[in-house]
């Protein structure tokens, strides 16, 4: 595996000052965030002797189906050997969902062009956070940390705890106290120390940035953040490769801190730069819950600035009122000609059910936000049925079952007798028919 820590370094996103590789997230000169930059000339395959982008595509195709196949474009320490096959989640058409989102004559076109990128089945903890953690922990080990940590709304907690366990690192996980029980249990089971904080995510995050100054711990989303964030690019690389090395017309991405949408854009830009895909415009659409929508509010009001909010939504994995990459998310969306929308909590639940009932995918609340937002974007004609559109489903519904509490009736058991079953079936059919008639009447 080609690793190349001499080929990347850190650069301030605002003043441009360069920093050697180190566990640091901000520029000491101006306090702006740092990002990883690469020596693309060294990565780009030589064109001499007929070699070119095709060579790199072939090389990638020969590697195992996981995120490490894009090693040239990830900040991995020299000699890094992956221990987990993270990523390379399925991308597939979603025709039944498309027909519901783009009703009418256009439904058939939409059915051909709507795709789901399903990180609800990412290894090992069923969310896209497995990707960012995989890169962050590679660097944590290279920097000599024996303890890794994070502030988390849940999915990151699971991912850090699981991968730290596999690597033999100690994990300290800081979470808002009101997190979903499944996400807390799904962190504790890996032996991590879970610190519940009586505050919202933004308060947890602020505390972690203070702790990171005092302790020599590798906070994946604080002092390791520039490396961590690069892991998100693999969502974009995979989308392009799985579409046959071409870019989609639209991508709909849930936004919490706003990093994922900017990194999918960076991934597409890098693929174009290296000649791995043809250049074409891609519109980026951001999805938020109305109860925590600082980025979509800024986009919709034409503001270039983030006004922080106090989150109040069931979509707790997106409940970041002061998004670290909000500013850059706004820019990515606006520059691409995209848009951002937000959906209410009842719309989130409806969208979770819509995706499950039509495509057999059970997503967590963030996925409900994405699908609900996509429905709005189709209705607004911001996404057209004939355009190739990818919805990013970033987490698994089994972690947020609490939001569906009370939605489904608990059936009374029946005796194990055929006659009982026939009677039950008759009653069920009658109930279904009545429901169908009610829906038909409502539609009229």
């Amino acid at each position: 595996m080609p690793t190349h820590d001499a080929l990347y370094q850190l650069r301030c996103r605002e003043c441009g000052r360069l920093w050697v590789n180190q566990p640091r997230s901000y520029c000491e000169e101006c306090f702006s965030p740092l990002e990883v930059i690469y020596d693309y000339d060294a990565i780009r395959p030589a064109r001499a002797n007929g070699a070119g982008p095709g060579i790199l595509r072939e090389r990638i195709a020969q590697r195992p189906a996981n995120m490490w196949r894009y090693a040239e474009l990830l900040p991995l320490p020299a000699g890094f050997e992956p221990r987990l096959p993270v990523g390379f989640t399925p991308l597939f058409r979603a025709p039944r969902l498309a027909e519901r989102l783009a009703a009418g004559n256009d439904a058939q076109a939409a059915a051909q062009n709507l795709y789901i990128k399903n990180d609800a089945v990412c290894m090992p903890t069923l969310s896209f956070k497995d990707r960012v953690v995989a890169v962050a922990l590679a660097q944590a080990q290279a920097f000599g940390f024996d303890t890794v940590a994070c502030s988390s709304t849940g999915n990151l907690a699971n991912a850090v705890a699981a991968q730290a366990a596999r690597l033999g690192l100690k994990a300290r996980i800081f979470i808002p106290a009101d997190l979903e029980p499944a996400k807390i249990l799904g962190t504790q089971v890996f032996g991590a120390t879970v610190v519940r904080i009586g505050g919202n995510y933004d308060q947890v995050n602020r505390l972690c940035s203070q702790i990171a100054e005092e302790r020599r711990w590798g906070f994946v989303n604080v002092n390791l953040r520039p490396y961590y964030a690069e892991g998100s690019k693999t969502v974009g690389f995979e989308i392009a490769e799985q579409l046959g090395w071409r870019l989609p017309d639209n991508v709909v991405v849930p936004m919490a801190g706003g990093s994922l949408i900017t990194k999918i854009k960076k991934a597409f830009d890098e693929l174009i730069k290296l000649g791995l895909v043809a250049e074409k415009p891609v519109k980026f659409f951001g999805a938020q819950a109305t109860g925590c929508s600082p980025i979509s509010t800024a986009v919709k009001t034409g503001s270039a600035e983030i006004e922080p909010q106090k989150p109040a939504t069931i979509a707790r994995s997106l409940a970041i009122g002061n998004p670290a990459d909000g500013l850059y998310a706004i820019r990515a969306i606006k520059q691409s000609g995209g848009w951002s929308e937000d959906v209410s909590d009842p719309e989130v639940v409806d969208a979770i059910r819509l995706l499950a009932e039509n495509e057999g995918i059970f997503t967590e609340t963030a996925g409900g936000v994405t699908v609900g937002t996509a429905a709005k974007l189709y209705r607004q004609d911001r996404i057209l049925p004939e355009e190739t559109t990818v919805l990013c489903i970033t987490g698994n519904g089994l972690k947020t079952t609490d939001v569906l509490a009370g939605v489904y009736e608990v059936e009374q058991p029946i005796a194990p007798k055929l006659a009982e079953f026939e009677s039950y079936l008759q009653q069920t059919l009658e109930k279904d028919n009545a429901a169908t008639e009610r829906h038909a009447a409502a539609a009229v």
């Binding site: 000491e28 306090f31 702006s32 602020r206 203070q210 801190g257 670290a324």
Partner: protein, 95 residues
């Protein structure tokens, strides 16, 4: 008003290693001016070319983001604890 300001590690090289500074200020602008006066080298790091607080430096008062307290209009109380926290918690809107 006498308030206490926590200086982040990255800035302590400009405060001779001092981690906590006592200041007298009624509002944020007065606080920044007091810091400028005590530690002239700090100024270019916490203010941009236009003299505004840098976009990616967040201010907390008693653990609360000052933007939720009124930003520039917030009037400090005696004993307030002020934190300067670098960008990880998000780029701030102009105060």
């Amino acid at each position: 008003m006498s308030i206490h300001v926590q200086i982040p590690t990255a800035l302590r090289r400009h405060t001779a290693g001092v981690a906590t500074v006592a200041c007298t200020a009624s509002n944020l602008q007065q606080l920044l001016s007091a810091l400028d006066e005590q530690f002239p080298e700090l100024k270019s790091h916490i203010r941009d070319d236009k003299g505004q607080l840098r976009r990616f430096l967040n201010i907390y008062v008693n653990e609360e983001d000052i933007r939720f307290l009124g930003g520039n209009d917030y009037v400090f109380s005696d004993g307030d604890e002020v934190l300067l926290v670098p960008s990880i918690a998000g780029g701030s809107a102009r105060l």
